[in-house]
């Protein structure tokens, strides 16, 4: 067998592939420049990330960064809620009883077989429109004291947009919950049957077995794909721009329309999404390695 050491030098084939790639890139750039009659102007874009606030004499997040923060809030709350949904439905999916299995399966199949766009539209207008007033979210915010509002500001963003963000979180959690359900199901089912045998052999009851043997191991297996799902969620959250949640894509659209700098804005937004998702991916890989070292 060949040496397992990773190659550090490029051979001539690599160089050729590289050259072809560069040529293709240059040609595309040339074509874009000659065909796309577009006056590039990047000068003012940074202002839409951060702007200098004259009144308060400090830098303040402008539309795009506000949008990014909202996107991150959506993703964090969304994955949290989806994890709860996934834990409940995923456990139900492995139940020995038929009804929980059926309920869970129905939910998963609904989400998997209806386009997210359609599902979000329906969910937003029929479910979340009814649920939010029911909990009195808006009333609560209107009558909340300054202390509460400060907390809410950190957790959910500007108070006047909270009902908006909550709708977005509910929609995303409902969508992602189905995928997390499948992750949890796979996690539970991936715990080998021999662990069950070992557990019952020391006399554990069904419940104790689940609690002390199966779930802890399932959780360990679920965390890495869940982290991956979080990254997916950051990207997928752009879909709630459809229901006017003021996240990155929606505000990017508004910025693009207002400034007519459509490509500059969208390229900036692409860079923001990439930056966030790629750093998360790197972080998760590192954490995963660390966890693996601890348990060897």
């Amino acid at each position: 067998m060949a040496s397992r050491r990773k190659q550090l030098q490029l051979n001539w084939i690599d160089l050729a592939v590289f050259a072809v790639f560069i040529a293709a890139l240059a040609y595309t750039a040339y074509r874009v420049d000659s065909v796309l009659k577009y006056e590039w102007d990047w000068s003012g874009i940074w202002n839409y990330l951060y702007r200098w606030d004259e009144e308060q004499q400090r830098w303040a997040a402008n539309l795009l960064m506000q949008g990014l923060y909202t996107t991150l809030r959506l993703a964090l709350w969304g994955i949290g809620l989806a994890a709860v949904i996934g834990a409940v439905f995923g456990t139900m999916r492995t139940s020995r009883r038929l009804l929980p299995r059926m309920l869970s399966r129905t939910y998963v199949e609904f989400v998997r077989n209806i386009p997210p766009l359609v599902l979000i539209f329906i969910f937003y207008f029929f479910i979340s429109s009814q649920v939010l007033p029911l909990f009195g979210v808006e009333e609560f915010i209107r009558h909340a004291g300054p202390g509460t509002l400060a907390w809410l500001q950190v957790l959910l963003g500007p108070p006047n947009l909270i009902p908006n963000v909550v709708s977005g979180v509910l929609c995303l959690a409902m969508l992602e919950g189905a995928y997390v359900t499948e992750i949890v199901r796979a996690g539970i089912q991936s715990v080998p049957k021999t662990q069950v045998e070992a557990g019952v052999s020391v006399g554990l009851s069904r419940r104790q077995l689940m609690h002390h043997v199966i779930l802890p191991q399932a959780v360990q297996r679920v965390v890495p794909p869940l982290a991956g799902q979080f990254i997916t969620l950051v990207k997928d959250s752009s879909i709630v721009s459809l229901i006017s949640v003021q996240e990155l894509s929606y505000l990017a659209m508004e910025t693009a329309v207002s400034t007519s700098r459509i490509f500059e804005v969208w390229i900036t937004v692409a860079a923001l999404y990439f930056g966030v998702c790629f750093s998360c991916a790197l972080l998760f890989t590192r954490l995963e390695k660390r966890m693996a070292v601890r348990r060897q």
């Binding site: 065909v35 577009y38 003012g44 029929f126 400034t259 459509i262």
Partner: protein
Amino acid sequence: MGSTNEGVKLGTAAMLCLMLAAGSCGERAGQPPSSASVVETIKKRGALKVGMSTFVPWAMRNKEGELVGFEIDVARRLATDMGVAVEFVPTAWDGIIPALLAGKFDVIIGGLSITAQRNLTVNFTVPYAHSGMGVAANRELSAGMAWPEDYNGSAVAFTCRRGATSCTAVEELFPRAALRKFDDDPQAAQEVLNGNAHAFVSSYPNPTLLAHRYRNKLFLPTTDSLTRGNEAFGLRKGDPDALNFFSNWILVNTSSGWLEDRHTYWFKTADWAGQIDLNDSSEQPAANVEPRGSNGIAPQATPAELD
């Protein structure tokens, strides 16, 4: 601005509208209108919630990320007159009517044109603005073409924003021409700038602003308005008090000339251009980008004989 919506989204939206309207009307059926009126809700809440969508120069984001524009001025003035605060609810255009019916805000002040089809699901006040449609064309592609007859050919391609009145206008006036619909105006304009379509149709002042900004690539084949729209506030059905209140507010502010004054500022001048950081704000003609009578904007090389 927009008029007849088409396609799946509107179908879904209309269906949702009817279902939601049926539901909410049923609840209110037996109650006296005054106590159920949205005017009362607004006063009790102390805030007017306005549904709107970004569209130059109706509502835009300025450099500080704040909303500015014609209808932003209108809504602020309305709220001040009511003695309440104003809250803007930016909403994607396709979903703005369902969102109104679902109670996400009190009123649409979003450049919503009156159409019979829409009027079946929402109530309209009297108009507070009259918009027009203009055309900007690609200099190379449309060279030597006479307006409007040469544009009604199968080799001609128009672009417009999906769901907007501009699309309907093109379909009616130039039935033989191809029509490409885009999600927003910049994309539709870009297609013409790229030379992939002949002309871009949009509400004023867009065509004029673009033809000025890209004066080497675009020109105005005509300075006439293709259409004359009637934009009004949109309200949920079954609320005569609100309809009366808002319509009369518009009447009063039309008579006083305030609405016309604001309309002129936002549509017939480019004084505001610096606010939203349009790059060439200094080069922008200070006033009078209104097509009628502004011959200076029509390019010298205009091949068409203007009617």
